[in-house]
C-alpha cells in the first residue's frame, strides 16, 4: 500500500501535530491530575468538570472557542501575533487543538495512575528527607509509569484522530493544517477519492489499534498497591 505524496505529508503532519500536542499537554495534565489525586480543595468537582470539558463538548465548539481566543482577533491570538508567534491557521494551531482534545484523557489516566501508588511509600520518602518534587519524580511518577504510558498512548490516538476542533480552528491547509483525518475528509468529499480515503482509513485504524494495544497492555499489567493513607 503506497501513499501519495499528499497523503504522506498529511500522515507526517498528523504524527508531528499529535506528538507535539501530547508533549505540551503532558506537564499541565500531570499537574492537574496530581492535584485531583492528592489534594482536597474547595470547588474540586467544578475544577474536575472543567478539565474534562473538551471530552464532552462537541469538538467544533472547542475549535470555535480556540478560534475566538487564539485567532487573529482573539485576546491571546493578538498578543501572539504581535510577538510573531501566530498559531491560527498554522500547524502549531493544529497542535494546540490536539493538545486540548487529548488533555482530558491524560488527566484521567494520570489521576488513576497516581491514585494507584501507595501513599505510604510517599510518606516513607518524606521521612527520608525528600521534598514534594523529589517525592513526585523519585517515587510517584516512576510507580505510575504504566498508567502514564497508557495515558500517553490513548491521548496520542485521540490527538491523531482529531478532526472537528482542528478544522474549525485552523482550517485545512495542505502541509500546514491538513492532518490525516482532514485529508481523509477531503478525499471522501472529492469524486474519485475513494481509494485514497481507504488507504488513509487503513493507516488510521492501524495507528489506533497500536495505541489501544499499548494502553491495554500497560493497564492490564499496571498498578502498585493502593493503600490506606496514614493522615
Amino acid at each position: 500500500m503506497l501513499l501519495t505524496h499528499a497523503e504522506t505529508i498529511a500522515l507526517a503532519l498528523s504524527f508531528k501535530v499529535s506528538l507535539v500536542g501530547v508533549a505540551c499537554s503532558l506537564p499541565v495534565a500531570a499537574g492537574c491530575a496530581w492535584l485531583l489525586a492528592r489534594t482536597r480543595f474547595f470547588g474540586k468537582s467544578v475544577f474536575e468538570g472543567l478539565l474534562l470539558l473538551p471530552l464532552i463538548l462537541p469538538p467544533v465548539v472547542t475549535g470555535y472557542v480556540l478560534l475566538i481566543v487564539f485567532g487573529h482577533h482573539g485576546a491571546i491570538g493578538r498578543l501572539l501575533d504581535a510577538a510573531g508567534l501566530s498559531i491560527a491557521f498554522r500547524w502549531t494551531g493544529a497542535a494546540l487543538a490536539a493538545a486540548v482534545m487529548a488533555f482530558p484523557l491524560l488527566v484521567v489516566a494520570l489521576r488513576n495512575a497516581f491514585e494507584s501508588v501507595d501513599r505510604k511509600l510517599e510518606h516513607a520518602a518524606a521521612t527520608l528527607g525528600a521534598g514534594p518534587w523529589r517525592i513526585f519524580f523519585g517515587v510517584t511518577l516512576p510507580l505510575s509509569l504504566r498508567g502514564l504510558v497508557a495515558g500517553l498512548a490513548l491521548a496520542f490516538a485521540r490527538a491523531f484522530g482529531e478532526f472537528g476542533a482542528t478544522i474549525t480552528f485552523v482550517s485545512s491547509i495542505p502541509g500546514q493544517t491538513r492532518t490525516l483525518p482532514i485529508a481523509l475528509y477531503e478525499l471522501v468529499s472529492t469524486p474519485g477519492g475513494e481509494t485514497g480515503a481507504l488507504r488513509l482509513t487503513l493507516v488510521a485504524v492501524i495507528v489506533a489499534l497500536v495505541a489501544s494495544l499499548v494502553a491495554a497492555l500497560m493497564l492490564l499489567r499496571g498498578g502498585t498497591r493502593p493503600d490506606e493513607a496514614e493522615a
Binding site: 505510604k120 511509600l121 510518606h123 516513607a124 520518602a125 518524606a126 521521612t127 527520608l128 528527607g129 525528600a130 521534598g131 523519585g138 517515587v139 516512576p142 510507580l143 509509569l145 502498585t224 496514614e230 493522615a231
Partner: protein
C-alpha cells in the same frame, strides 16, 4: 531525651499521651491497637496531633501552641516502618542511598552495608528479597539518613524465627555501634527487653506506666520469653 504531650483522634480512637523519658532507647509497649504506632507516626510527622508538643533530644518537632510543625522531611528522624516500605522500583543500593544527605561519606554507606551484611544484595529489587533482608535494608536506609533519632515500628513483626533472631541481633549491634536515641514500638516483651533502656506501657491510648528496663523485666514476669529468642539471637 524524649518529651511527648499529645492528643490525637483517629475515628473512634482517642490517644492522649504525656511522658518524658531520658532513656536512650525508649520502647512504647502495649497490646495491638493501643496507640503505639499512632504515637510513632505523630513523632515522625505523618500524623498531626490535635494538640500537644513533641520534642526529641531537645528539638521541638511539634508544638500546637507555638504553631510549630516541622515537616517530616526536616525532622531528621530515621523511620523503620513495620511494612518496611522499600521502594519497589529501586534496587537495594538505590533504596539505601535514597535518604543519604548530599556529600555524605561513601565510607558511611560501606560501614552500614557491612554492618547489616547487605553487600550481596545491593543489585536486587525488593521483590527478590526475604522478609528478614527487607527489614535489614529498611533499617540500613533509615540509618543512612544519618538521623538524630531512630523510630522503629515493630521491627521484628511477621518474621519467622530465624529471620527474627537475625534482625534482632543486627539491631543489638546497631544499638552498641551508633548509640542513637531510639523509639521502639513493640508488643513483644523479649524484643523490648533486648533493645530498650526504658519502657512506656501504653494501654488504650493512655500512658499506663513509665519504667526502666529492669523494672519492666521484673514486672512482666517473662523469664521464659526472655530466655528463648533473645538468648538464641545473641548466640
Amino acid at each position: 531525651m524524649i518529651a511527648l504531650d499529645l492528643a490525637l483522634q483517629r475515628g473512634e480512637f482517642s490517644l492522649e499521651l504525656a511522658l518524658q523519658s531520658t532513656a536512650r532507647a525508649l520502647a512504647l509497649f502495649g497490646p495491638s491497637g493501643c496507640g503505639k504506632t499512632s504515637t510513632l507516626l505523630a513523632i515522625a510527622g505523618l500524623l498531626r496531633p490535635g494538640r500537644g508538643r513533641i520534642a526529641v533530644d531537645g528539638r521541638v518537632l511539634f508544638d500546637r501552641h507555638a504553631n510549630i510543625d516541622v515537616p517530616p522531611a526536616q525532622r531528621d528522624l530515621g523511620v523503620v516502618f513495620q511494612d518496611a516500605r522499600l521502594f519497589p522500583h529501586l534496587n537495594v543500593r538505590e533504596n539505601l542511598r535514597f535518604g543519604m544527605p548530599r556529600g555524605a561519606a561513601s565510607r558511611t554507606f560501606d560501614d552500614v552495608v557491612k554492618l547489616l551484611e547487605l553487600s550481596a544484595l545491593l543489585r536486587r529489587k525488593p521483590g527478590q528479597l526475604s522478609g528478614g533482608q527487607i527489614r535489614r535494608i529498611a533499617i540500613g536506609r533509615a540509618l543512612l539518613r544519618q538521623p538524630r533519632a531512630l523510630l522503629l515500628d515493630e521491627p521484628l513483626a511477621n518474621l519467622h524465627r530465624e529471620a527474627r533472631a537475625e534482625v534482632l541481633e543486627h539491631l543489638r549491634g546497631l544499638k552498641r555501634e551508633f548509640a542513637l536515641t531510639t523509639i521502639l514500638v513493640s508488643h513483644q516483651p523479649d524484643e523490648v527487653a533486648a533493645l530498650a533502656d526504658g519502657v512506656a506501657r501504653i494501654d488504650d491510648g493512655r500512658l499506663a506506666a513509665l519504667e526502666d528496663i529492669e523494672t519492666f523485666k521484673a514486672s512482666t514476669a517473662m523469664s521464659m520469653a526472655l530466655d528463648t529468642p533473645v538468648a538464641h539471637a545473641s548466640g
